[in-house]
């Protein structure tokens, strides 16, 4: 089978699977967040933590809860790494250095899962299971919770009535509450992530992924050398790594490791998992705002960008320069022979379009322009479909910006889902879309200006620049995948990238909650023939266009000196 045929088949299968999931899974999530009942397990958690699940939170309170929860998570994770040598199942690993522990703690709490270390030679089983894996769940759930809170801001249709806990208007309060973070967090983990992960992990184990608590097995290889084979609770971590768009691999080579991703079909399954929540949440959004077409429009814009990006990536991977690629017909360097170029391109595109950052191939080895497309995916702010939750709220912010420009062009104060986009809303939306470009550009600029950090680059020329740009783009957008090629486990990079991840996660999150709070206060505007329809292909096209143009204009100079300089001949 040729590369392109294989690629098209994989894509068709994926699209079909996601289309099938969209409705039932989106509807299921809708019910999760509107249900008035608490499960016994949830009630137990609320009692333990002293949370009153029936009280709504204004956006400021919601944001404070998110930040407090995340701060505690960072501290906990940091401490656990520092003292892992004193904990059981430490495999003989010593405590992690302060800079790396900070970087890793932030990385896993922010759903980035940038790894400046090799999992199998740094982290003990306890750290992996009770630290990193827990944050895989928590950070994914935080993203979804915030997205749901943001949607509630759009959806709020009437004055608050206390009808029940957790429901749209069910929370008791003054009217601009956007839900209860603790309830959203708990329900996401208990009702969505955990059930899927239990089932999914079994499927992965069936496929050959391992799940044990073994240490290193040293075996003699056929060639007579010695090889250490590390066991561990891999499948349980692998499943949430994909589902929660985390991407932090148990092993350094991530999903290219046969224990993480044993076969071609598990590869496809993993791609599906990492896209599943992102592509289904728009349905939940549509249901929550009471207009399913709005959800369809958002998912259509996501799909348009995703498929476009994939086509570009595949085209560049197949049309190649250089002796070896021309001889074998595609840029095979850095790809796993089990998966091939097409499957690798799909995985790479999916992992950079979401905030996953898991890899099954070596992005650094992609053709310059193929690599640029991966870089560009992240620069989009990961909105197609993006990280769990964060993709949806990122896309909604872009929709707000699109509606603003489009709304002016039809001669009305812009409105989206019945809410007016005024100065306050634009302030929050602008701050949101400013944050990550600032982090990425500043980080890259500063790194390139410092001789010490340039020394960490293993490659020179345009490719070296691409690697630094990739690192900051990945960290700032909470992706976590790496181009590699630079020594990032240094105090400077660990600190700088840690800061990039932290600001890249929490500043936008605060701004988007602020936007939601501002929208929640508004009484809705009735829809008339003069209202800009935001469910038609016209709007979908414009939304995708605005997304691409804003990002292209922001990063064109940097891309020109990196991948373009390298790739255009």
């Amino acid at each position: 089978m040729s590369t392109s045929t294989a690629g098209i088949l994989v894509v068709l299968l994926l699209v079909a699977a996601l289309v099938v999931t969209y409705r039932p899974f989106g509807d299921y999530m809708y019910r999760v967040y509107t249900s008035e009942k608490h499960l016994p397990a949830e009630r137990a958690i609320y009692r333990l933590t002293g949370v009153n699940p029936n009280v709504g939170q204004r956006w400021t309170v919601y944001a404070r809860s998110v930040l407090a929860f995340s701060l505690v998570s960072v501290l906990f994770l940091y401490l656990m790494q520092r003292v892992q040598e004193h904990l059981p199942w430490n495999l003989g690993f010593s405590g992690v250095s302060p800079a790396l522990a900070w970087n890793t703690a932030v990385s896993f709490t922010t759903n980035t899962n940038w790894q400046a270390y090799s999992g199998e030679s740094t982290m003990s089983h306890v750290t992996q299971m009770t630290g990193l894996a827990v944050q895989n769940f928590a950070s994914a759930a935080v993203g979804i919770a915030v997205a749901i809170a943001v949607v509630r801001g759009f959806a709020r249709r009437r004055a608050p009535v206390a009808t029940g806990p957790g429901s749209m208007d069910g929370v008791v309060g003054t009217g601009d509450e956007i839900g209860n973070f603790w309830v959203d967090l708990t329900r996401t983990i208990v009702r969505i992530l955990l059930p899927i992960c239990v089932l999914g992990a079994i499927v992965l184990i069936a496929g050959g992924a391992i799940q044990n608590l073994h240490g290193n097995h040293v075996v003699s290889t056929v060639a007579g050398g010695k090889q250490a084979i590390t066991g561990g609770p891999v499948a349980s971590q692998e499943i949430i790594k994909e589902l929660g768009t985390n991407g932090g691999g148990f092993y350094n080579v991530n999903s290219a490791h046969p224990f993480e991703n044993p076969a071609a079909w598990t590869n496809l399954f993993e791609i599906y998992l990492l896209l599943m929540i992102g592509f289904s949440l728009p349905r939940t959004f549509g249901r929550l705002v009471g207009d399913k077409r709005q959800g369809l429009a958002i998912v259509a814009a996501m799909a348009l960008i995703a498929l476009g990006s994939l086509a570009v990536n595949m085209a560049f991977q197949a049309a190649h320069h250089g002796t070896v690629p021309e001889a074998v017909g595609a840029a095979t360097e850095g790809t796993d022979a089990r998966f091939g170029v097409a499957n690798s391109a799909v995985f790479a595109t999916a992992t950079t379009l979401t905030s996953t950052g898991a890899v099954n191939s070596f992005h650094d080895s992609y053709t310059s322009l193929g690599g640029a497309s991966l870089l560009f995916n992240m620069m989009l702010g990961e909105v197609a479909p993006g990280g769990t939750g964060s993709g949806l709220y990122g896309m909604l912010v872009l929709a707000v910006v699109t509606v603003f420009v489009a709304g002016l062009m039809i001669g009305r104060t812009p409105e989206y889902i019945g809410k007016k986009i005024g100065a306050r809303e634009m302030k929050f939306a602008s701050l949101y879309f400013l944050t990550t470009p600032i982090i990425v550009l500043l980080g890259t600029g500063v790194a390139m200006a410092m001789p010490g950090q340039r020394a960490g680059m293993l490659n020179g020329g345009a490719h070296g620049l691409s690697e630094v740009l990739y690192a900051f783009t990945s960290a700032g957008n909470n992706n976590g995948s790496a181009f590699a090629g630079i020594t990032v486990n240094t105090t400077w990079y660990n600190t700088a990238l840690g800061l990039a991840m932290m600001f890249g996660r929490f500043l936008p999150l605060i701004f988007v909650l602020g936007l939601s709070g501002s929208l929640a206060r508004q009484a809705p505007v009735p829809v008339t023939a003069g209202t800009l329809p935001t469910h038609r292909p016209q709007f979908v096209g414009m939304l995708a266009g605005v997304t691409l143009i804003i990002v292209a204009l922001t990063f064109f100079p940097a891309l020109a000196l990196g991948p373009f300089a390298e790739g255009i001949h």
Binding site: F404, G445, A565
Partner: protein
């Protein structure tokens, strides 16, 4: 709102749209006179003051860039450097010019108003009571500016009204051309809705006593001057939101350019053998080029034109003789979902007209027509005139002059009898004296019965039928003295109908496409109201409306999230005008109404509400279109500047030079020149506003996206290429 007011102004109102451009005081239909560019230049240069430019961050950054390149050009002179510097300064000046031109047009209007604001002397009445003869009152003469609120002044023919107020006694014809530009005098009288007079207007006949309502120094003319000059122009909510977006884009581009420097230094250092070029040296990109790139990328086009667009929007209203008290009101007009329109004068012609004569059985059509005509001969109301006209046009009855009928006594309409008609005396010595009456059905039937006549049952059916169809029935009856005593009969019914203005249905259809619901307000009964509403094509109606009903309707609409616009002129309209999001008061109206609304229509034409909505929309569309254009322009500029900067280091990047610009210097200079010239080229569009035709949101968006989005991408490629073809011949550039 009283019927008479609107009716009286109907002719004026309808004639206005055609007449407006021809009126001498007005600046022609929003077009730019090239001379204005020249005359506004000094003002544009004065605006270079950073303290003034502070309010426009985008242009302030351009100015800083220009100052920066000036220093560079002085320390390291080159043709290229000086050309860039000059064009960066020109960019700022062009932006200032746009604002200055827009303001200049307002200033011209303000100057005309100031001329009208002659210092007058007021004759204040002391201790005068209404009803007391003015001659007997004590009069003191004081300068007009010293008049306080509630002072009473007397104004005689030939004198100027010293301040805004309401007439408390008298009636006068007043020349208001100073304010409205309309030279025909208007009647102002005490009581009712035409009692207000404006300071600076001239009384042409008679004497009036005016109670001053303005505070000193806050006359209508003062406010008009302030408005057209834009003296206390504040940014509107939407303008603020757009400014935030522009600021955000500016920050992004500032950062993209600033962080480019270390990347450029690194890239250059990778190939140490390469000689320094005029764009890239070992120290990185030259300051000249960095400043050029920044100016080209930040949204200068919309940044330069934004305030001009706002001023011009207000100005377009002024040109249509509407004064908006704030830019916020103009913007709100674009957002209106519900229009409340008074039936009379707005939807229908001011008066009802005869549309049929329906005779009862046993009476011929000709007989009824004759009687109808007779009874209406002396009836000078529009309805009465229309009966005579109808009789002539449809029954061939020659119009008889009242003098033609000897022995005729005309009976005029009174509120008590609710009938009018004529008494024809018999020829001396004969019988056959005849009384003809027409009037309200109940009045005429009672009269016929009193005279001993019978009222056929059929009459009731005819009358009800007419009422049901939205018409007004007038019953005609007569009493003829015969030899056997007098015979009283009911002859038939005149059907009066409201005549819907031509073209209203199309306008309402257009409104509906724009998503605006029209609600007709009328004092008529629901049946009549419904019939007219159906005929005119409005979406809804409010019948038997009282001012309280109106206010309640507005509140209800607003509670549903709708923005409401309405017109009004009476004092009892004031609460509704104040409540409406866009309240347009008629200039003929009372001071209370004008105070309550946020716009005043000097022509007192209620139909203009529709134009006001369109102007509001046009204002927003112009902003959106130019923003889109401005951002789309950046694509081409990148393709000009990036290869110019880096093709020396990475030769592959020369393939991005798809315009094949001659040299790096010519490419950068061309982009900068294009960026500056496009501002001048778009000034007329900013002042005139983007063309607006009522259409659905989708259609409007598609059209504007194609023109300003796609056009914004394509035009600069062509423009920069053409400029490059010229500038490459400049020594040191090509």
């Amino acid at each position: 709102m009283s019927t008479t007011t609107l009716a009286a102004h109907q002719d004026n109102a309808d004639g206005h749209r055609e007449a407006s451009p021809a009126q001498p005081r007005r600046v022609g239909g929003g077009l730019l006179d090239p001379k204005q560019l020249w005359t506004s230049l000094p003002s544009a240069v004065r605006k270079l003051d950073p303290r003034t430019l502070w309010h426009n961050p985008v242009m302030l950054i351009v100015e800083i860039g220009a100052a920066f390149t000036t220093v560079l050009a002085i320390t390291d002179p080159s043709t290229f450097g000086w050309l860039i510097t000059v064009w960066l300064w020109l960019t700022v000046i062009f932006a200032n010019l746009a604002e200055a031109v827009a303001e200049g047009r307002g200033k011209a209007q303000a100057a005309a108003l100031r001329r009208a604001k002659t210092e007058t002397v007021a004759r204040r009445l002391v201790g005068w009571q209404a009803g007391q003869p003015v001659e007997t009152a004590t009069v003191e003469t004081i300068p007009a500016p010293r008049l306080a609120q509630h002072d009473l002044v007397v104004v005689d023919a030939g004198e100027f009204v010293p301040g805004d107020g309401d007439i408390v006694e008298g009636i006068a014809s007043v020349d208001e051309s100073a304010i409205t530009g309309e030279s025909a005098p208007v009647i102002r009288e005490s009581g009712g809705d035409r009692s207000s007079v404006t300071g600076g207007t001239k009384v042409l006949s008679d004497r009036i006593v005016v109670r001053i309502t303005q505070k000193p120094g806050e006359s209508f003319i003062d406010r008009m001057i302030a408005l057209v000059e834009g003296a206390n122009r504040r940014k509107t909510p939407n303008e603020i939101a757009l400014n935030i977006l522009l600021a955000a884009l500016t920050v992004i581009f500032l950062l993209a350019v600033a962080t480019l420097q270390p990347l450029a230094i690194y890239s250059k250092a990778q190939q140490p053998a390469l000689p320094d070029s005029s764009t890239l040296t070992g120290d990185g990109i030259t300051g000249m080029v960095l400043a050029s790139l920044l100016v080209c990328l930040i949204p200068t086009t919309i940044g330069a034109l934004l305030s001009a667009i706002g001023i011009a929007g207000m100005d377009r209203l002024v040109q249509r003789n509407v004064l908006a008290m704030s830019g916020r009101a103009v913007e709100a007009a674009g957002d209106v979902n519900t229009l409340l329109l008074d039936k009379t004068g707005t939807i229908t012609l001011g008066n009802r007209q005869a549309s049929a004569f329906l005779a009862v059985d046993g009476v011929s059509g000709a007989e009824l027509a004759d009687a109808a005509q007779l009874s209406s001969l002396a009836d000078e109301t529009p309805e009465g005139r229309s009966v005579v006209v109808f009789a002539k046009e449809h029954h061939g009855l020659r119009e008889r002059t009242p003098g033609e009928l000897r022995h005729a006594t005309f009976v005029h309409f009174t509120a008590q009898t609710r009938m009018s008609g004529v008494d024809l005396a018999a020829e001396p010595g004969t019988t056959g004296a005849r009384q003809v009456r027409k009037g309200a059905a109940s009045a005429v039937t009672r009269w016929v019965r009193e005279q001993g006549g019978q009222v056929p049952a059929q009459l009731g059916e005819i009358v009800d039928g007419i009422s049901a169809s939205g018409g007004t029935p007038l019953v005609v009856g007569d009493v003829i003295e015969g030899p056997a005593g007098s015979v009283a009969r009911v002859l038939g019914v005149i059907q009066l109908k409201d005549v819907v203005k031509s073209g209203m249905r199309e306008r309402f259809d257009a409104m509906r496409r724009m998503g605006i619901r029209t609600v007709m307000i009328t004092g008529d009964n629901p049946l009549t109201a419904k019939a007219i509403a159906d005929e005119a094509g409005v979406d809804d109606f409010l019948a038997e409306a009282t001012p309280e009903d109106k206010l309640a309707l507005i509140r209800k609409e607003q509670a549903g999230g709708n923005l409401v616009a309405m017109t009004g002129d009476g004092t009892n309209d004031a609460p509704a005008l104040a409540q409406a999001d866009v309240g347009v008061a008629m200039n003929t109206g009372t001071s209370a109404a004008k105070e309550a609304g946020n716009m005043v229509d000097l022509d007192s034409n209620p139909t203009k509400l529709i134009e006001i909505v369109e102007i509001g929309k046009q204002l927003l569309i112009t902003r959106g279109a130019l923003t889109t254009f401005s951002i789309a322009n950046d694509v081409a500029k990148y393709f000009a500047i990036i290869p110019a900067m880096f093709a020396g280091v990475y030769t592959g990047l020369d393939r991005l030079n798809i315009m094949r610009l001659a040299s790096p210097e010519s490419a950068i200079l061309s982009a900068v020149i294009f960026n500056a010239l496009v501002i001048v080229a778009l000034i007329p569009l900013a002042l005139r506003g983007v063309r607006y035709t009522p259409a659905s949101a989708s259609k409007l968006l598609s059209r504007n996206l194609y023109i300003y989005g796609l056009g914004g991408i394509v035009v600069p490629f062509i423009g920069i290429k053409i400029i490059d073809l010229l500038v490459q011949f400049i020594p040191g550039v090509g």
